[in-house]
């Protein structure tokens, strides 16, 4: 029998950027918050001395273990789904701070085109440009409406950067100047400029200087040590919730954080959420935490599965195309980051140095910046050259045709270490009627609850956009003077490898309750005191990493929750738009 605890104003599930921003804002406003995190407690000093490639990059120390819980995956609605069994094949964050603790720190706002993608596409190209079954929609919020929240998140996170010359309106400069450019990044930018493109230094969550944010949290200057993506930062110079919103929430005295607390159900009656049920993973004891408002701010998979297991909302059915929970699943996978690798005989780059968000970028082939009239896809992608810094296990790039083992492999992999660079196109991913999430009929977790099942097919849109991007990357690589240029190959079909942590949707925002689960304050249409915050709210995947958009929407949701706590009621008018 679960132990019932004292009621609080708000219970927040998850401690990443989404839950962290909501908790910081509401606890500053004086509300009593309990935050529940399934993973372990950790602090910034835990990351000192962790520069161990095998442990973190290859054995995924900071990634949620799959021992008792994973997802199942299939391509088509007529396939049997199999579990994604290996820890390395599904990278989802865990522990205090969530996935944001091991993120790279690359920062891009999504574009004005994204938020009104259906109407802007129809306006420029006509209805027929959108293929049957591609479930894109306007989000119910415009870029201009979301812009102040982007600015707020960038100030909190201490983003370093310079404006994208092809970017949308910005109300503020980035709070910190851009990161230093390495010789490889300079080569990329100069070469791109020479062929008429508009490169710039990508913005990052790595600090270009010591910075104190508006809440009084301080982060150090990045040292370019290269142990960044998949690692916690050992200098506290990568922006993350442990460095920013979590201490901000805690110092108010209004936010209690409980780690090792796995939320398994949202409790509700008569159409209202009354709290959550969770298990203490160290003792096995069950608790009920009552609250006036429940905020699900876990990873996309957990937000979706919690709603499905709690029987809130209608699970999407691809046969009828009805139901909203699980609908509009998209993600960026390894096969989304395709481009061209160049090998240089006469140049060596110090590529053991780097930072997660260090790189050059350009937007000439992004969103609807270029004309799609004669192209067989919509949207676009960002082009990047990143200098994460490659450690020794990873840095084994050899030209195509080289054996992957044996004497020639050894010779070439040593020769080309530090002589190769990759330019890639991070393509946008559109939602389709056949890509969605539901509950698996076969596989279960340790409590006997069904696992989440993903059905995800790569479409012609994906192949066409990637083929276009690969050619553009190869043109830049040629301008950079590479001696050998290897173009990436198009994927045959989805390979069920969930690396990169960029999976979104399923509790997507919109204007019409028939097709969307939450409104533009991320409040559930069906349950007004339940807010579902995080990547799950994004109706399609734009061309870049989702973190800033998740952060901006979390600030927007926090504002909405505060309004709801004061006044109650639905925060947005539902509309019948039919998509």
């Amino acid at each position: 029998m679960a132990t019932k605890l004292d009621k609080v104003d708000v219970v927040v599930v998850g401690s990443g950027w989404a839950g962290g921003v909501v908790s910081a804002e509401l606890s500053k406003a004086g509300y009593k918050i309990v935050m529940l995190e399934r993973g372990k407690d950790q602090k910034r000093s835990d990351f000192i001395g962790v520069k161990d490639e095998l442990r973190y990059t290859n054995r995924h120390e900071m990634i949620e273990k799959l021992t008792n819980d994973t997802i199942t995956s299939r391509v088509s609605i007529s396939d049997a789904a199999l579990p994604v069994r290996l820890h390395k094949e599904m990278n989802v964050g865990t522990a205090l701070g969530g996935g944001s603790m091991h993120w790279a720190g690359s920062v891009y706002r999504w574009r004005s085109y994204d938020f009104e993608i259906r109407s802007k596409t129809v306006e420029r190209y006509g209805e027929s440009k959108i293929p049957e079954g591609m479930q894109i929609r306007d989000w119910g919020i415009t870029y201009d409406e979301l812009e102040p929240y982007y600015a707020k998140w960038e100030l909190t996170a201490g983003i370093s950067g310079e404006p994208d010359p092809l970017g949308d309106h910005r109300s503020i400069d980035y709070p910190n100047p851009p990161m230093l450019a390495s010789p490889a990044i300079k080569l990329f930018k100069e070469s791109a400029k020479n062929i008429g493109l508009n490169p710039y230094q990508m913005a990052s969550g790595n600090m270009s200087q010591t910075y104190t944010n508006p809440d009084g949290e301080t982060m150090n200057q990045c040292m370019f040590c290269a142990f960044c993506t998949m690692y916690g930062c050992d200098f506290s110079s990568k922006s993350d919730p442990l460095a920013t919103v979590l201490p901000t929430a805690q110092k108010t005295g209004n936010c209690e954080i409980r780690t090792d607390s796995l939320v398994r159900r949202v409790i509700h009656e008569n159409g209202k959420a009354t709290g959550v049920m969770y298990t203490d993973t160290k003792t096995g004891q069950e608790f009920i935490q009552p609250a006036d408002v429940v905020v699900l701010a876990a990873f996309t998979f957990s937000n979706n599965r919690l709603l499905m297991l709690s029987e809130i909302g209608e699970i999407y059915n691809p046969e009828t195309r009805k139901g909203t929970i699980g609908r509009n699943f998209t993600g960026q996978f390894n096969s989304t980051f395709l481009g061209a690798r160049g090998f240089f005989e006469d140049k060596k780059f110090n590529y053991y140095m780097g930072a997660g968000g260090l790189g050059g970028a350009l937007s000439d082939y992004d969103a609807d910046i270029f004309d799609h009239t004669d192209l067989d896809f919509i949207h676009g992608g960002g082009i990047e050259l990143r200098q994460y810094g490659d450690a020794a296990i990873k840095n084994n790039f050899v030209p195509k045709g080289t054996p992957s083992w044996g004497p020639e492999f050894k010779e070439k992999s040593l020769h080309y270490a530090y002589r190769s660079l990759i330019v890639w196109y991070s393509a946008a991913v559109m939602p389709w009627w056949h890509n969605y999430m539901d509950l698996d009929p076969t596989y279960k977790d340790e409590f006997g609850d069904p696992l989440l099942r993903i059905t995800n097919k790569i479409t012609d849109q994906d192949r066409n956009i990637a083929a276009f991007g690969i050619e553009k990357c190869a043109e830049i690589m040629e301008a950079m003077g590479a001696d050998i240029i290897d173009k990436d190959e198009l994927p045959d079909q989805f390979d069920h490898t969930y690396e990169g942590m960029h999976y979104i949707g399923g509790v997507a925002m919109g204007e019409d309750p028939e097709t969307s689960a939450v409104n533009n304050y991320l409040q559930m249409w069906e349950m007004e005191n339940l807010f579902v915050v995080g990547g799950s709210a994004l109706p399609h995947f734009s061309s870049h990493h989702p973190t800033p958009t998740i952060g901006a929407l979390a600030y927007r949701a926090a504002e909405g929750i505060e309004k709801f706590l004061k006044e109650g009621g639905m925060l947005a008018e539902p509309k019948k738009v039919g998509y």
């Binding site: 069994r85 010789p183 200087q209 010591t210 040292m223 110090n350 840095n395 083992w405 045959d492």
Partner: protein
């Protein structure tokens, strides 16, 4: 090429240039100790080679000598000794793999290993048509999986998988060349490895290409992982690759045009154990 070894940063310069002021970290004993150990080492001889066999080189996973000998011969073909330096055996890779297999990773402790385990049938590519609608899976279900899809769907953990794979290599050597793997000429050993790489051998419902891919990846990991795991002995592979190992940072060098070669340092140095 510049040897950066002599250019150590002083503690004061490091603190100044890093601007480290956040959250009490500098005052923290761990971080303070780390900085001290990093910065006081300037005078030490970091290049001294340990010539004695490391005392931790003994097996805790492989029981049969034969299995370990096959493993050693195979990893040496994957990363052979040449004029640039040692191969996998000289770098301690067989011991690295032995230790990996005896721990969490070898036992798939962090992986989802619950059933049912259906029969997997590999196909050349993904075909949407001809697929049976088998929604609920049981042990007698046959699931078509494209050959290029790396899906681990065996009940065997990596330790068992390695033993089965090495013994299948032994059997293949006997069938094809009439002798044990370790007795074959290197060209013949390569031929056996290629048969596995191409998925031409089947054992226990597992594709030999999956075993080869695991063997190859684990070998590369053993070559280049930090020496604390038993491979990359004396950081020789890092020296071959000109990889400096874990460092505090490169803020003063990130814009440098020339390639900088540094004498490598390991986690043992970085964490201040010596």
């Amino acid at each position: 090429m510049t040897n950066k070894d002599s250019k150590g940063m002083s503690r004061r310069n490091f603190l100044k240039s890093s601007g480290l002021v956040a959250g009490g970290l500098v005052g923290g004993s761990l971080f303070g100790g780390l900085l001290t150990s990093q910065l006081q080492k300037g005078e030490k001889d970091n290049t001294k080679q340990v010539t004695a066999e490391p005392s931790f080189e003994a097996r805790t996973f492989f029981s049969r000598n034969e299995d370990f000998d096959i493993l050693s011969a195979a990893v040496e073909r994957i990363f052979p000794e040449d004029s640039r330096g040692s191969g996998a055996i000289g770098l301690g890779v067989p011991y690295f793999i032995d230790r990996q297999l005896s721990g969490d990773w070898g036992r798939n402790a962090n992986d989802y290993m619950h059933g049912p385990f259906p029969t997997i049938k590999k196909t050349d590519s993904y075909q949407e048509e001809n697929r049976s609608n088998n929604d609920v899976i049981n042990t007698s279900t046959e699931v078509l999986v494209p050959a290029n899809t790396p899906r681990y769907q065996t009940k065997m953990n990596r330790g068992v998988f390695f033993l089965e794979g090495l013994r299948a290599m032994e059997q293949t050597s006997k069938d094809k060349f009439g002798d044990r793997f370790v007795k074959l000429e290197t060209e013949q050993q390569d031929e056996v490895l290629k048969m596995f790489e191409n998925g031409e051998v089947q054992f226990n419902g597992v594709d030999s290409a999956d075993f080869f891919s695991l063997l190859r990846q684990t070998t590369i990991e053993g070559v280049y992982a930090d020496p604390v795991y038993g491979g990359n002995r004396n950081m020789e592979a890092w020296r071959m690759k000109e990889f400096p190992g874990p460092r505090m940072g490169f803020m003063n060098d990130i814009e440098t045009e020339e390639f900088l070669v540094m004498e490598p340092e390991s986690l043992r140095n970085y964490q201040g154990h010596n």
